[in-house]
């Protein structure tokens, strides 16, 4: 039985829906997509231990779904999701965006979120240190812009984020 899922919506808040009801609709759809996918694949979920974030993201279920215009965003959107045990990470994209890049970005961001907020452990940092996610997003997904970052550029940005976290 699946435990309750926390869905972290890496939404670009400037676009499309600006109300909370719309986001709840999205969360419910992602939640059902994740559970259907897991049920169909029949994979046994193993509790990932803290420190195994990279492996957890590697093995995570992932999927993509299409949302028609008005349901709930004003234009048609594509939703990518990543399910890491009882956590789901979602990225909402416009139809013209590069999905390969989006998928890579989502995995990278998810891994960082898991690590910096110790989400695989029992703590509640995700609620009390959510500014870390904001900083992470401001570097790796600034104002919602997907970036073509090779490993050197990524390293440079990650160093920047790490220095913020140390303060």
């Amino acid at each position: 039985m699946l435990k309750r899922t926390v869905t972290i919506n890496l939404y670009r808040s400037c676009r499309g829906v600006t109300n909370k009801i719309g986001h709840l609709v999205l969360l419910r759809q992602v939640w059902s997509a994740v559970s259907l996918s897991r049920e169909a694949s029949g994979r046994l979920l193993v509790d990932p231990a803290p420190g195994q974030e990279a492996a957890a993201v590697q093995d995570a279920d992932s999927g993509v779904m299409r949302l028609r215009a008005g349901d709930p965003f004003t234009g048609e959107t594509v939703v990518l999701w990543l399910g890491v045990h009882s956590l789901a990470f979602t990225l909402v994209c416009e139809p013209h965006e590069n999905l390969l890049l989006a998928e890579g970005t989502l995995r990278n961001l998810s891994q960082h979120c898991l690590e910096s907020l110790h989400m695989l452990g029992p703590g509640s940092e995700v609620l009390l240190k959510s500014s870390r996610i904001d900083v992470l997003l401001s570097r790796l997904l600034p104002h919602g812009q997907l970036l073509f970052l090779n490993h050197r550029f990524t390293q440079s940005l990650e160093k920047d984020v790490a220095s913020f976290l140390l303060k």
């Binding site: 400037c14 993509v64 390969l100 890579g104 009390l128 812009q145 090779n150």
Partner: protein
């Protein structure tokens, strides 16, 4: 992870009472008045953010707190900027007060303040202002100042023109085009960050800045792109990355074929001819206007990226990036070629080479789709062989990559968006419907929407019958795909594997043909197989597999779409054939709980509809319909379909529906139905079945009465049965009807019909009404129109 602690925190945040909240606000104001950054300040700001997030309704903060938070946006400490922006974004701005950022402030605008400005922009004017300021800052920025302050500018501008493309004026577009060209093509080719050659003991004079490198470690010999690496990066190299990241969207928004057409008219004739010649060669691109120049540079950038992707990257993350870059480069080339057709001839050699390189590697399938899009859009210009492309995309990808959710989405999207084009350029795609349905069978919930859109285009006269069979056997396909994957993953003798029987059958050469038929890539080798019932038995244990169950749930939806399309085609011969298929398949379905029932419901609905639209179908297929209606077993195991078959026979087997309907036909139909009715009302139901539904019995009785009213010789026989029915039921309960109320209803109907049949003329007009009675004509009918007209006149002439 989610824990009790988190839960209680959220509850606390949600349930905080107003007085406590006000106290919290005032405490926070005091904390913010202190100059130093303390742990408590950060903590309180974080809690405030949580409270605002957790509550359903957006709050308005007290004015003093708002002001304090606004001032945080220009604080040197980034934590305060982040929190200030995050909190303010969750609140409503105080009414009547615009976020005023003077020009000096804007030059120090940071990314978090910009996020707030964007989220609170209320009008196009706000966005235009922000735009203008940002572009001005790009033009003339101080040489000192942190690198960060420039880099977020492009993403903000990207967001602005996503929300409202008209915010940028022509001048802005021109200016930004020029800057984009500079960043994309002329970024520094030496490493930044002080990296230099020479080593530890070399003196300062001998230190040369190191050149940038490629992803495979070799020194780069051409201009800087996102696939170049260095120890550190200069500012313009960063801008190169940001510029490329938004390039496609920029081109899609601000360049279009119509735009260039308008521009061409404005220019003088001489200039125009120079432009069209120059666009073919890149050497004189300096003569081009900014938009065209950007297009040319974008072209060169993409070609370089494609070459760079041939190198073997040292890091896995970079190999993934190379794939993404290939997709982006192909899409941008597609874009620029759409604007400037002369570029197609330059682009195609590159595309062909890329296709040749990647077509044998399935891991590049998602890159090959944009290439297919390019071929589809521009293949006519150059005489290219697109056959290979379609064979790969329609024939190979679905067969081997049906379980890749992302490829499924992208391939189906490609079909959806280019349907018209594909129908004219590659009409053979329809033949590949068995392949496309594999995506649906594997992951129905994710792609059913796409198929609702695509299915109508797959229904043609040639494919309709085979498509119906394939849809009905979609759960079997789902099971087979699961077995196919398991078969490749699991060793032959694995005692723990689920579904051992069906897996054995899958591997058994005797049944190979059955499974191969389901797994076929193209239509045309037969509508269905003879040994379908054998296949269903072999897959019996798959009936509770989640994929199979989900698939079975989507089939009725698609059948509705299918029949809606078929009806529009108006092909009577096809519809007649489909009636037969429905009758045949109603007993030939994979046994999944409630699957048969749902399919029967769909069949009944459309059988009725088809016969209503084309009543002559009933006479056409009378033989098969009678055979179906005359089999008593069908009453019990196919009740819904049976009821409707009897109903259409009763309703449409008449001369007024089809002049070929003879007395002999009516009589034989009557006799068949009479026999069944006798049988089910004279004895207990066979063991293992429940009593026939009352609706079946009443429908049979009504059908008999209708048929009798058309051939009056049959009336005595019908009346005899109906009166016998009355007598039998007077004794109380009967073996064939469990419920007393139902029995009463049946008998009442019987009596009504019996009394109707006593007056044959009346019976005929009631039970076989002429067409104009059943199609209402409202005001067009003189008898009905009169009262309506009178009423209208009265209400008009009467004084109010």
């Amino acid at each position: 992870m989610y824990s009790h602690g988190s839960e209680s925190l959220i509850n606390q945040a949600r349930e905080i009472q107003e007085p406590e909240l006000q106290k919290f606000y005032s405490r926070l104001v005091k904390l913010l008045q202190v100059k130093e950054l303390s742990h408590e300040t950060l903590d309180s700001l974080q809690r405030l953010q949580l409270i605002l997030f957790a509550n359903k309704f957006t709050k308005i903060l007290p004015a003093e707190l708002q002001q304090k938070l606004l001032s945080l946006l220009s604080s040197p400490a980034e934590q305060l900027q982040v929190l200030g922006s995050a909190v303010l974004r969750e609140t409503l701005p105080p009414s009547g007060q615009e976020l005023n950022f003077s020009e000096e402030n804007l030059s120090q605008l940071n990314t978090h303040a910009a996020a707030l400005l964007l989220s609170q922009a209320r009008s196009r004017a706000d966005l235009s202002n922000l735009c203008a300021q940002l572009i001005r800052s790009l033009e003339s920025r101080p040489s000192e100042g942190p690198t960060q302050s420039l880099m977020f500018t492009l993403p903000v501008l990207n967001t602005v023109f996503t929300l409202s493309p008209e915010c940028l004026t022509e001048d802005h577009v021109t200016l930004l085009s020029k800057k984009l060209v500079d960043w994309l093509r002329y970024a520094s080719i030496v490493q930044g960050g002080g990296a230099s050659s020479g080593g530890f003991f070399a003196g300062p004079r001998s230190r040369q800045p190191l050149p940038i490198a490629e992803l495979d470690g070799s020194v780069s010999g051409d201009f800087f792109t996102v696939l170049c690496v260095g120890q550190g990066f200069t500012e313009d190299q960063w801008m190169n990355v940001y510029a490329f990241s938004m390039l496609r969207h920029w081109l899609l928004t601000h360049h279009s074929v119509s735009n260039t057409a308008v521009d061409a008219d404005d220019r003088s004739e001489v200039e125009g001819s120079v432009v069209s010649m120059v666009s073919v060669t890149s050497s004189s691109s300096r003569l081009l206007p900014p938009k065209e120049r950007l297009r040319e540079k974008a072209f060169q950038y993409c070609q370089r990226l494609i070459e760079q992707c041939d190198r073997r990257a040292q890091k896995k993350a970079d190999s993934e990036l190379q794939k993404a870059c290939l997709v982006e480069a192909v899409c941008i080339l597609d874009c620029v070629c759409a604007e400037d057709a002369s570029m197609v001839y330059r682009a195609f050699p590159c595309m062909k080479a890329l296709f040749g390189r990647l077509s044998s590697d399935l891991s590049f399938a998602r890159v090959l789709l944009p290439i297919a899009q390019f071929y589809l859009n521009h293949g006519e210009m150059d005489t290219v062989d697109c056959e290979r492309v379609w064979k790969l995309v329609f024939g190979q990808f679905p067969a081997e990559l049906f379980n890749d959710a992302f490829l499924a989405y992208e391939l189906l999207r490609f079909l959806r968006l280019n349907l018209e084009n594909i129908q004219s350029r590659a009409p053979e795609f329809v033949q590949f419907f068995p392949n496309f349905l594999k995506f649906l069978a594997w992951d129905s919930p994710a792609v059913v929407e796409d198929f609702v859109d695509l299915l109508p285009s797959l229904v043609t006269t040639g494919t309709a019958v085979e498509l119906l069979h394939t849809l009905l056997d979609l759960p079997c396909l789902a099971a087979t795909l699961v077995l196919q994957l398991r078969s490749t993953c699991l060793p032959i003798a694995d005692p723990n594997s689920r579904g051992l029987l069906s897996l054995e059958a899958f591997r058994n050469p005797a049944f190979r043909g059955l499974f191969l038929f389901l797994l076929r890539a193209q239509a045309g080798s037969g509508d269905t197989i003879d040994r379908l019932s054998t296949l269903h038995e072999l897959l019996a244990e798959a009936a509770d597999w989640p994929r199979v169950v989900r698939c079975a749930q989507t089939v009725p939806v698609l059948l509705h779409v299918y029949f809606n399309t078929v009806v529009k085609m108006d092909d009577r011969k096809l519809l007649a054939h489909l009636v037969l298929v429905m009758l045949e398949r109603s007993s030939l379905l994979l046994r999944i709980p409630s699957y048969s029932k749902e399919i029967h419901r769909v069949f009944s609905c459309h059988l009725r509809r088809l016969c209503k639209l084309h009543p002559s179908l009933v006479v056409d297929q009378s033989h098969e319909l009678l055979e179906f209606a005359g089999a008593t077993a069908n009453v019990y195991n196919k009740e819904e379909v049976y009821t409707h078959v009897v109903w259409v026979l009763g309703e449409y087997l008449s001369v007024s529906s089809d002049s070929r309907c003879s007395v002999k036909l009516i009589t034989s139909c009557f006799e068949a139905l009479e026999a069944v009715l006798f049988e089910i009302t004279s004895s207990t139901p066979p063991p293992g079945t429940i009593c026939p539904a009352p609706r079946v019995i009443t429908t049979l009785m009504s059908a008999l009465a209708k048929l009798a009213s058309r051939s009056h010789d049959l009336i005595p026989r019908a009346s005899l049965f109906l009166s016998k029915l009355r007598t039998v039921s007077r004794n109380g309960s009967v073996a064939w009807c469990a419920d007393e109320e139902d029995l009463v209803a049946i008998v009442t109907r019987g009596e009504e019909l019996w009394s109707l049949l006593k007056a044959p003329g009346v019976a005929q007009s009631v039970l076989t009404p002429p067409a104009y009675v059943t199609t209402p004509r409202w005001h067009r009918d003189t008898s009905v129109a009169m009262p309506l007209q009178l009423r209208a006149l009265t209400s008009l002439t009467h004084s109010q």
